[in-house]
Symmetry: C2
Subunit: 328 residues, 2 copies
């Protein structure tokens, strides 16, 4: 099976849960603004990981669908609010929610999706899944929401600070991107009735895959081409964004090169993108980042060895590979 | 006992829970922005109602403190996001969060408080309070969050629409203001182990008090004086805001008076505030609003008769009176 088929397998069930959840939102303007990005697509990697993790520990997929939908609702909430904060006007090939409905309605759309996510987890039928498991899944999801906010705040605070350590950077991307992916696999394992060890190892698998996911995003920005990427190569450099390549190159560079790289990042224009890439290459920072992503994926996959063999386990292993093989 | 003493009774315990909840927020900028409005004060009516409702049905105050703190965190989240949406630059005598930290950090501060609220409910010690009660309280609080978003969206959609019915207006203020107060009393009753009937009547008590609270706010805007109010009399008129007085006067007014009132509300300046108040009085709309508030409070208080006598029940009755007697 291809990864695309794995992600398709539960996507219509997940979509149905999401649609049910949002169908009662009132007034109509608010409903439409909450549905916009969901309708625009998305790979549904996170909710699929919830369902697969539940199955991998012996649970039934149906039991995990509410939590899966909740994770996608939270992901969508964070995209809408991030786009306001980062002034990003396009998302998934469509104008952002705040562009179409204005900032006030976009803030509310995010808040509504956030509330709906928790409502959805709480609708998990208790007949099949005990209160204890539902509360456990919910705690996991709520904890990741706090981390998402903290990660975005750290990212904003890092702006213009070129002394950020690799440790601080990795902690930021763990919170911003890794935590929700770790929450997906962990909450799935809890709902599926996994042992504490299984819950822990799937949580760690998710954390590692989440970190690799973000590093691969950073890597693609410099190594992909404009057509695959859907945006110009090096746009992170143009925006002066902190990436693992930047952190690594700055930590190794000679005083002159460091000064030059900082001035390119501070300029926030595209005239010296090629020179920035030369500097990343000079200090092997692109390979360095790619290798960390690959190491994380290998460790993540090896953790899965502890689980009983199943198609779901195989699928989680393939998703891990996909994260660092994807070209957009 | 005075209402001020009732509200003081649990406020330091509630404050401690809130401070604990926010003490781990990182980075520092985010922590400070989440703490700002909490430190600026607030009457703590909602969290006190959580604790009192729990006691009134036979529960222990300590069991309800986490949920009480959560309700205050949600109230604070909604104030921060509302102030961004409504471009209100002052709150509790201090500059709003978005004025001090900028909109992006204010959006995140709200999102963080929102997440922390759910985390806090989920930290209720399960030894004393079963999973079922915690899940019940959480469902109540989550449901009110959805309503807060919907109410704020309706309020925004009403802007410039002078054909809003009283029913639609009451539904909007129920969602925007009543729902969280109803959730306070309902969740308290659930955590306190109330019977389904007690939970239902305390929920209805909260809904009625919540509606009266908002109507009293509207009433004070025209009937109080600038010193008590802390802002000019009639500022709702200047802002063209929909209030129960506006809805009532427009529904009764002659075509000429209706046209005049609409033009005053659309002008959004303070030159004709006095004329708007004359029109409210001409159609008895101020008395009409005050009487609805008083009726709600009387019905709310009569519902409490069903509960066993206790100091907590007495306190809830006094809080109901306070809501329509307060002058700011």
């Amino acid at each position: 099976m291809e990864v695309v088929d794995i992600l398709k397998k539960y996507s219509s069930d997940i979509d149905e849960e999401i649609q049910n959840s949002l169908s009662t939102v009132d007034p109509e303007e608010l409903k439409k603004s909450t549905q916009h990005l969901i309708k625009a697509g998305g790979k549904k990697i996170r909710p699929s990981m919830v369902v697969l993790s539940a199955i991998a520990v012996g649970g039934a997929p149906e039991e995990a669908l509410k939590t899966a939908a909740a994770v996608e609702l939270i992901h969508t909430f964070s995209l809408i609010h991030d786009d306001i904060m980062d002034e990003d006007d396009m998302r998934r090939g469509e104008p952002s929610v705040h562009v179409l409905w204005g900032e006030p309605m976009a803030i509310l759309a995010g808040d509504t999706l956030f509330s709906k996510a928790f409502e959805t987890v709480l609708e998990t039928p208790i007949d099949n899944v005990s209160y204890e498991r539902v509360v456990g899944a919910l705690k996991t999801v709520v904890d990741s929401c706090i981390k998402i906010c903290e990660g975005q705040a750290s990212d904003m605070c890092f702006e213009g600070n070129f002394e950020v350590s690799e440790e601080a950077y990795m902690n930021m991307i763990y919170k911003k991107t890794g935590a929700l992916i770790a929450a997906s696999t962990k909450s799935g394992a809890i709902i599926g009735g996994g042992t504490p060890e299984q819950v822990e190892l799937l949580s760690e698998y998710g954390r590692l895959v989440g970190l690799a996911f973000q590093i691969q995003d950073d890597y693609l920005d410099v190594m992909s081409d404009e057509q695959d990427l859907g945006k110009p190569v090096g746009s992170d450099v143009v925006e002066g964004k902190m990436t693992l390549m930047v952190v690594n190159a700055l930590s190794k560079a000679s005083p002159e090169d460091k000064k030059e790289l900082i001035s390119i990042l501070e300029a926030e224009d595209d005239t010296n993108v090629t020179r920035a890439l030369e500097l990343f290459n000079k200090y092997d920072s692109i390979d360095y980042a790619k290798n960390i992503a690959l190491d994380n994926i290998n460790t993540a996959k090896s953790l899965l060895d502890e689980l009983p063999d199943s198609e779901a386990k195989e699928s989680l292993s393939m998703i891990a590979d996909f994260v660092v093989e994807r070209i957009h």
